[in-house]
Symmetry: C2
Subunit: 414 residues, 2 copies
């Protein structure tokens, strides 16, 4: 009765804390769980039979290391009817390594994979319990009050906006200047919203926040920028990468790669150009990109605790036979903020996308509302000491070898 843990999709600053939570809880159940394995690069590692034994891993260092220590991938598992051989291979690997529990750490799409593997196992009468461990900096998974990974990215971005705001305020002048920070968020503005926590009063950065949920109104926006500059000598704006015009067109320039994948970016630059052309202000533009989801040196203690907890509870759910569930965070009270972790049906939330509700956005569509502030505030609280060597965080890089393969090699899908 071995357990397999895998990471999927974009990684976060605390996804390895979830891994540590899973491994720690599984080790504590050594009477009921045999080996604790981890797939290299998610489902791709299962297919390739690239599996690690997590036995010797230092969980404290693992939990403090950002990114996906075991490797992740964006592989979308097709339906079994479309590619039955893929499923045959996955279950052959499970069987060869005695895997009867799969803990899958991912976002919306991953919860769909759990449902597919769970259904396939039932059809095959293979004894498998699949449990989802949520993660995403986007905070867009339904069924969980918030998502591990989000709070840390939110804290990092709110801190960055407050700090950059200090810098730009220092250099404020009657001529005016604009500072724009572009944050992740293709369809949802949760991270953009969180930067608004940086402002303790309306004169502090960010003065305006542009959400993908609100159609961009150029004239209204320029008018607001001008008013802020007139009052303060500068204006700081957060722009979500996926903001759209009223006609639905994205603000950023689109750039498709050879797979046809749209690489987002550039919405911030588009806003900077627009303000420069319309109002002529001196401008600066920051795009933290991966820095915002990898900032292990400045995680939210609440987020890190939740990442650990969903990992631990997922093991409990697996042991209780709660196949097809996801370990979800539930908000019990707001002041003081209390929460717990419960199992929810993974199939019911798969592929949904939770957007920022209109009530969390101010009436003018360019700021966080008080309700939004109440929801977000507790998620960024608490600092976690960082173990450094020579002034830099002492990240763990796995050096354990892959398990001996039991099956014939598998042709790579890449």
């Amino acid at each position: 009765m071995n357990l397999l843990y895998a990471q999927s999709g974009g990684v976060t600053a605390v996804i390895n804390a979830s891994a540590a939570g899973v491994i720690e809880a599984a080790r504590a159940q050594s009477g009921r769980i045999g080996r604790v394995l981890a797939a290299r690069r998610g489902i791709l590692g299962v297919l390739a039979e690239d599996l690690y034994d997590t036995e010797g891993i230092d969980l404290t260092r693992l939990a403090a290391t950002p990114g996906g220590a075991f490797g992740s991938s964006r592989f979308d598992l097709p339906e079994e009817a479309a590619q039955p051989a893929l499923y045959d291979r996955i279950f052959a690997v499970f069987e060869a390594h005695g895997i009867s529990m799969l803990l899958y750490n991912g976002g919306n799409g991953s919860m769909d994979v759990i449902g597919r593997l769970s259904a396939s196992a039932r059809r095959r009468a293979y004894p498998l319990v699949c449990v989802g461990v949520p993660k995403t900096v986007d905070n867009d998974i339904e069924g969980s009050d918030c998502c591990p990974g989000f709070g840390s990215a939110a804290k990092y971005l709110a801190t960055s906006m407050r700090e950059a705001g200090r810098d730009v305020a220092s250099m404020a002048s009657p001529k005016g200047s604009l500072f724009v920070m572009e944050v992740m968020g293709r369809n949802v503005g949760w991270l953009a919203a969180a930067t608004a926590l940086a402002a303790r009063h309306p004169d502090e950065a960010p003065h305006l926040v542009l959400f993908p949920e609100v159609p961009f109104d150029e004239a209204a926006f320029l008018e607001r920028v001008q008013a802020v500059v007139a009052r303060l000598g500068y204006c700081a704006v957060t722009v979500a990468e996926g903001i759209r015009r009223a006609d639905g067109a994205l603000m950023m320039e689109q750039d498709r790669d050879d797979k046809g994948y749209v690489q987002l970016g550039g919405a911030g630059e588009a806003i900077v150009r627009l303000v420069y052309e319309g109002l002529g202000y001196k401008h600066h533009y920051a795009s933290p990109d991966y820095l915002q989801r990898a900032a292990g040196h400045w995680v939210s203690a609440v987020d890190r605790d939740q990442a650990l907890a969903v990992g631990r509870v997922a093991v409990e759910l697996a042991l209780a036979g709660r196949d097809g569930t996801m370990a979800a965070i539930r908000r019990l009270s707001e002041q003081p903020y209390t929460w717990d972790v419960v199992g929810v049906d993974a199939a019911g939330i798969a592929n949904l996308e939770r957007r920022v509700p209109r009530a969390f956005i101010s009436a003018d569509g360019m700021q966080l509302s008080e309700a939004g502030r109440r929801y977000l505030s507790p998620l960024i609280v608490g600092e976690v000491p960082v173990q450094c060597v020579d002034g830099l965080p002492d990240h763990l890089v796995l050096d354990c070898p892959l398990l001996q393969k039991e099956l014939a090699p598998y042709a790579s899908l890449e």
Copy 2:
């Protein structure tokens, strides 16, 4: 016998620590120094007679706040012969407020201002002692082994590169991917160089570093990127904003504002495009911009201590009548790293620009050398606890009023 402190040019994460060092040392000399004043926005504040009394300021909070708490500006003081009225006004303000010591916190250009004001005071027989307090994230001031502000930006960027490297490594695949981080550095590659500290061995990010000091060789660069991707499945590159081709042309697109000021940025994007066109890799691009010079949540303890020390020593130099000097950091030993602060002649170093020596760059021009690593390593060491409220750094925002004006209003120069 009052002291005036002023901030000039681009600000840093620890410039207010220098301010705190000045004010603390001056308060301790209350028998010899009367009021400790600060100009709002540098020389512009002197001209406008916008002066603060620093008496009630909480120095612990001030030192922990990034950006320039008193405001800064990029005003270039012309020679006295060109605009004598400007100097008449400055000395009228000094006289009206009993100012006999000017402590000027700035970069290369500011050391020139010190020389000009010092010479003007002598011509006028005005009893003024001018002392420079160095600051710059660029680390390009001659005469000081390193510059306060640099170590913290270096630590932030090296940490960011290590963290983003973890993220990109998680997602590495046979198809290959590229991550580029663009850092500040118009003419000097000190910050780019510092990101190389993130790599504990050659497989860690950044794999390549592009310096303004080394002409960009497109073919050699693409070959190296391809080799790294073949080995690791991804490649992480640091790009200084001011990198140039062999013919001297900047890699970034130039964008002049209405003052004719060249806003740099875009070198990282140019590199991303070049790699995409040449090798087709999936790519991401980060531009921390102001975040790198404002990251008060992650300063280097060594840098913060040096920022405090140059402020304190500048007061000692002023009291000793060392007119026209700058408080410079001197490296006494490398292992263990020890340093002190001494006065150097400001005129001798004004407007010079210290570039990264060739010996600090690897033979192929795309990495830090061992000598460079030895020089940089000690500057990023040590973490400073951050006082947070609601999960965010508790920055000080000045709320003290400006001093009562003694002179007639002055027409703004802006």
